[in-house]
Amino acid sequence: MPIASNASIKGIIGVAFCFASTLCVCADFRTPDFQQDILPLLETYCFECHGDKKIKGGVNFVEMTTEAKAQLHYKDWENAIQALHAGEMPPDAAEQPKASEVDLLKRWYQEVLVEQVIAKPALFQSRRLSAGEYRHTLTSLLGFDPEVAIMEAEQTQSETSLVLKLLPDDPPGESGFQNDTHKQPLTSGLWDQYAYITDSALNQLQDRGSPIWQKTLQYPWKNPEEAIKHITPLFQSFQRRAYRRPVPLDDSEHLASTIARASNPVAALKKELRVILMSPPFLYRGLLMDVTRDKPVLVDDFELAERLSYFLWQDMPDERLFQLAEQGLLHRKTILEKQIQRMLKDIKSRRLSEGFTTQWLGLGAMDSFARKQLPLAVSLKTQPIEFVHYLIHENRPLLELIDSRITFTNPHLAKHYAEDRKQIASYRKARGIELENIAHTRIELRHTPHRGGILTMPGILAMNRGPILRGNWILERILGDHLPDPPANIGQVQPNSQGKHLSFRERFSLHRANPSCAFCHDKIDPLGFALQDYNDQGGYQPWAKLPGKGKDRLTRTPIDTSGKLPSGETFENLIQLKKLLITVKGDQIIHHLTEQLMSYALCRKLEIWDQPSVRRISQAMHEEQAGWADLISEIAMSLPFTQTIVTSVKPE
């Protein structure tokens, strides 16, 4: 999605304008019209591969019959314009557009799909709590996490949370994040699971003699009127927390009187609690928000509190947020900012680091390591999470993601850190324990600078074996450049023929000589081959074994890790590449990170009208060399996060 360098494209387009105006004095500066100007060009140059007979790379221009439809596919347009700009599309073998035509397309894109887009909030959609959100909400509400009644053994996996055990995993939504549950309907199977969990939780509540239970049942028995007075505030508080907003007083009074007058108060209490925990406003987010319909408005204070707490904590708001919401103060910038800072300091913000990092970087791919050694696999997977958590927690500059002097390691991973491993406490496993999970310790990379940043963490390297997967991972996850799937008939890289000692890179360059491969591989390869000093297990091994002189001798040969980015910059090794990523690609990396984080915060896929906010934030962050907490804060105060439109009729 290389809007990459929106700024740089803009600059180049500006230059193009100058040329255009000198070459063609009669240049027309009205905004190009989609039907009149753009569609004919698409027909001529693009339809053949992208719509008519084939739909290459999943891009279908034939579908985009109107400007509105083109807007829906704004991501495809970002890619298309960049490819056009780089001369990658249309491919060399096909008919090439004239310079004026290229210019027309770029202008139309820039004006219609970038500059004229007006930021507006998305339509409001309530959604079911994800399994994790439901679990944490229930835990906060009741004061305990309903557990499964089993003992745990080391090195085995069993689900101890009853909620997680019984609720199916949330598949990633359109946004790619699991908290995007919009397309996950309630089913009767799920209903049964909720009912069972609720029952279990209420039994455990009774057994534990929790406050709501005990206090409610301590009411003055003799006098129902007194009892109602006693129970009403208890229920009002419980309902407010369960529904994440206050309920009308008569609602709570009604519940209180039902219990106070019941012949079996315990059963009545249980029943009322069960109704609350199974009702839509508990299971769903945002059902009770009451704002002016059909126009952009600020979400109300309670919705804002909920958005904040589920974004930063995966949990319901705490008492402080409730209070501020009740006072109507939460939308005030200074107060909002202060709350965000407070919430990020809370231990619960780890759920943001874990949830976001895992899904954004695709760390789920490391789950297959679990077959080797569970504690090792856990160490590999938690290392990047720990690192990102540190970046957020200490508000480190955004681009320290790429290079940093700080990392986290534990004895399972210590071998990758040479001298620096001395900074972690020596570990001796207890007698009779074969392997165990060990927490990470923060270390400073004094002797192993080649390990700085996320790209060279052993787990990240090991989950992407080989230069192609690694290059593609960086493009997709860090730079946000999503490439189409490779064609099915790519074949294998040929082994060395007898007597030849070509390196993998040399043999690969023969393999990819086909010009149609170059479009993607020019992007993938320089990034991937720069990481060739790291082996499949993520170990640092800056040499290859190649047959040397004498019989059966292997010599260590340095590996060629140099490369050239499609934009022209060259580098000798990974250290230089990292510098380039930070300097030349910094804006692109921050743009992508902003998009991802915003998508996670909003629990939905971003739309074109979110893009102005994304661009504004990412540019400001880049210019200010802002930190991770700053970015989170900006997103939580942005228009898409704080505003909405509630429709009263079906939107078109």
Binding site: T156, T160, D192, L287, I433, N437
Partner: protein, 528 residues
């Protein structure tokens, strides 16, 4: 930093296909079994993890109906008349943990594409009960070798999810919310209330919210309809009154007892007739702190590799606990009257492991015990030591026959195992040897079978059995124990010479000067 990585992501990650999760089906209506006129035959298995410590497990010498239970068998010695102890079961060679787990119920470690016998049996007899079968365990998944966590496999040889939470199983069996009258009533009133509330909410809602609420209301209506169509039971199922839902266990012992209680109750109430239960993964990493043992079971089970006196003591404590659990299960099964006998009389219980020696992983002399008379088809109270190694598949073929499943072969075995019903079989014959004692001054020489003390709390004490005389007690310093490798010679006839003292009128060998193995077995050539 006290946190854990989200285990769920591991459980349900890329390895998902290999790590099936239990589908609990807590609310699915289940049929009520009518009390049959004749007692049904049940099949139950109990896996003992990590093989055994052979010197304490193996029975040496003795005859089919006149034998001495080994020290490890003492916890269930009072059930001797209900047991058929099989010896010389196994395969050639060594076995990984994962292979041995497969072997236990699938007959052979290479039988990976077909069903385990419990599943064949469940297919045959499971249709008549509310629950076809139960697959239970104690421990979580061991992802390094997934195979260690499963003994039950479906027809494609894929592992069947198992459940370890006694409360969930209890609810699934006995508190089915859909058929339980009180639960139905609760659910009905819940549905009424939420229906009312959601409808009221829907009238005020915006467009998108109405979509969500409609979806919610349609699920409520669907659940109401399901409730209407389920056959209602007349009350709690016969027999479970007085049985409380298990509480949250505070240690493994309580968890396993709770599960064993449920197993017996499930069989007795005819909720199911086929259950498999693993006392742990076959390479169990469990720590038995409630026994005062701090080391992981698997570490201790390598008693030779990780040799120390205290490790052996720890291992034996754990092994005895496994045996106590087996005894407890048999107690429970005997405690239930079933028609004109006990539940155990109408069951076949298979207890054992998939490997023999827990340190060197040999697959020979795999501990295998059948308990219960199988409605008269099994002649218990005997010890069968076969002349040669018998593949478990042969036993399985025979067990299938007992359940009316006649196959020509199972897991590569084509001949059923003889002898279970009292039919003739080829028994192991030991080379005869004489036993005697000679005392010259304070030097004692004794010839006889060396064995471990019956009391495993003094597992460093050995005895030499001498016919017609009291056994000679051997209690030596660690140096001698180690130098003469007493544990290794356990079960075999030896000539032992050493210094002797008399304690309480009984001769005691306290210093060994010479040990000769009578038949000259070389180390490593024999189990133990």
């Amino acid at each position: 930093m006290n946190w854990r990585i989200n285990r769920r992501s591991f459980l349900r990650g890329a390895a998902g296909a290999l790590l099936p999760l239990p589908y609990l089906n807590l609310m699915e209506p289940t049929a009520q079994a009518a009390r049959p006129a004749e007692p049904p035959l049940r099949f139950l298995t109990l896996l003992k993890p990590n093989g055994v410590h052979p010197p304490s497990w193996n029975i040496e010498g003795g005859a089919e109906s006149d034998f001495r239970m080994s020290p490890l068998m003492r916890p269930f010695a009072h059930h001797k008349e209900d047991l058929l102890i099989l010896d010389n079961m196994g395969d050639f060679g060594f076995s990984s943990h994962s292979n041995s787990t497969r072997r236990f119920l699938s007959g052979h470690h290479q039988h990976t594409q077909g069903p385990s016998i419990d599943q064949l049996i469940a297919d045959r007899i499971g249709g008549e009960t509310p629950h076809r079968s139960l697959e239970l365990t104690t421990e979580g998944l061991f992802p390094n070798q997934v195979g260690c966590s499963y003994i039950s496999y479906d027809r494609q040889g894929a592992p069947i999810p198992r459940e370890s939470d006694p409360q969930l199983i209890f609810d699934r069996l006995f508190r089915n919310p859909m058929s339980h009258p009180r639960k139905r009533q609760e659910m009905r009133s819940l549905l009424d209330r939420v229906n009312e509330d959601a409808s009221a909410l829907s009238r005020r809602a915006g467009y998108e919210d109405r979509q969500v609420l409609d979806q919610y209301l349609s699920v409520v209506r669907e659940t109401e309809q399901r409730l209407e169509h389920i056959q209602v039971s007349s009350g709690p199922r016969a027999g479970i009154q007085g049985h409380k839902r298990p509480g949250r266990p505070s240690n493994l012992d309580e968890q396993v007892d709770a599960m064993l209680d449920i197993i017996a109750l499930a069989l007795w109430t005819d909720s199911t007739r086929c259950i498999t239960y693993m006392l742990g993964n076959s390479n169990s990493r469990m720590i038995f702190d409630f026994l005062g043992v701090k080391e992981q079971h698997h570490y201790l089970s390598h008693f030779f590799r990780n040799f120390s006196r205290s490790n052996i003591d720890g291992l034996l404590k754990i092994s005895l606990w496994h045996m106590e659990k087996f005894a407890y299960l048999l107690d429970r099964l005997k405690g239930y009257q079933d028609h004109h006998g006990s539940l155990l009389d109408h069951s076949i219980v298979l207890f054992g492991s998939g490997m023999g020696h827990s340190d060197n992983h040999t697959a020979t002399r795999i501990p295998t015990i059948l308990a219960g008379k199988g409605k008269g088809s099994i002649r218990t109270g005997r010890y069968l030591r076969f002349s040669e190694n018998q593949q478990l598949g042969r036993l399985h073929l025979t067990l299938l026959e007992h359940f009316g499943i006649n196959q020509t072969s199972y897991a590569g075995s084509t001949r059923p195992l003889p002898g279970l019903d009292g039919s003739p079989y080829e028994a192991y014959t030991e080379r005869p040897f004489a036993s005697w004692i000679r005392l010259e001054g304070d030097t004692l020489t004794v010839q006889g079978r060396l064995r471990l003390s019956d009391d495993l709390s003094e597992a460093k004490v050995f005895y030499v059995d001498v016919e017609g005389k009291k056994p000679i007690r051997v209690e030596v310093a660690f140096k001698d124990f180690h130098r003469f490798n007493l544990a290794y010679h356990c079960g075999t006839p030896v000539i032992l010479q050493g210094l002797c003292s008399i304690r309480e009128g009984v001769p005691l060998l306290h210093k060994i000067t010479k040990l000769t193995s009578l038949f000259g077995k070389k180390p490593g050539s024999q189990n133990g």
